[in-house]
Symmetry: C2
Subunit: 157 residues, 2 copies
DNA sequence: ATTAATAGTTATATAATATAGCTAATAATT
DNA sequence: AATTATTAGCTATATTATATAACTATTAAT
């Protein structure tokens, strides 16, 4: 007899395994891993007053001075409308600035401030350190393999 | 000169690459892939009146008759409080039933109905077919490798 | 000159996730 | 046995990510 009474079976089985048949679905397994990494990264970024979305946008802006909100939306796979509050948050935190473009008065050229670049560097370092902990079980080669396989999955018509 | 004017550079660069430095962060790449698979799966499940969370719970219930809501929460890594509405939805759709347990009147024994099992089978099949499309670029061995690597990433203290 | 398209914005909706506090029931402790 | 602690389910609520529709101002295309 492997199973004890219902209420005990949970602690006995260590709560693992009830989702066995879901784990064979790649989308489920990817999501599970993603949730773990997201929650962890959110904790790291919180120390810098950043969320995942604001961090992502900050990195893009640091890497590409004078980028526009639409370009950020396209790069990060999000809706233009959702970039507004994200850019607002970064601007109010003094990490980036919206600058008018003489040649096109519809769009803003976004540029990181010195503070923004410092925060970005520190956050990137902290994330890298933390990811080292999260991935300590995987060799460098395995990490590269994982990355390479993931990016080959794309939206299909 | 690689860059044209600002507004043209976006379409020229095909919107790809602005997030290059983010892509070296595993959490970012996993999330990106996860979003793609989630959005796709959501579209498939929608045809059965299911969402990802209700589908996941339904599968666990079908696989483990008389499971409790707490066990589902533990298996799916979610809060107990959030299982309530999910189980409500499945019950109202007639896919599962809450049955009282004589030995413990606090908990419910959840069991799928015949309809629930039929829907589950059809949804699982539809998801598998669709995942075949999403993963057509990856060999069976690569898919197995990807899965194996993903499950080795766990929450760390 | 008219029309179409683009950038940013606002408002709103949905879904997933998280926390706090509550009741009823069971288990553990004194 | 009486008290205390824990558990299961529930309610309310908050946050975050994501999505759509509609609007204004500006620029591009016809």
């Amino acid at each position: 007899m492997v199973e004890a009474s219902k209420t005990q079976s949970k602690s006995t089985a260590e709560e693992g395994g009830l989702d066995a048949s879901l784990r064979s679905i790649l989308g489920y397994t990817v999501k599970r891993t993603s949730n773990i990494l997201q929650a962890d990264a959110a904790g790291v970024l919180d120390r810098f007053g950043l969320r995942i979305t604001t961090f992502s946008a900050l990195v893009v802006i640091c890497d590409h001075p004078d980028v526009t909100q639409s370009q950020i939306a396209a790069a990060l796979n999000m809706e233009r409308s959702n970039t507004v509050l994200i850019i607002d948050a970064l601007e109010q935190a003094g990490l980036i600035g919206r600058h008018r473009v003489p040649t096109d008065r519809r769009s803003y050229a976004l540029r990181a401030t010195l503070e923004g670049m410092k925060i970005r560097d520190a956050a990137v370092r902290a994330l890298a350190e933390r990811e080292e902990v999260m991935l300590h079980d995987l060799s460098q080669e395995e990490r590269a393999t994982l990355m390479a396989l993931l990016v080959r999955i794309r939206a299909q018509p």
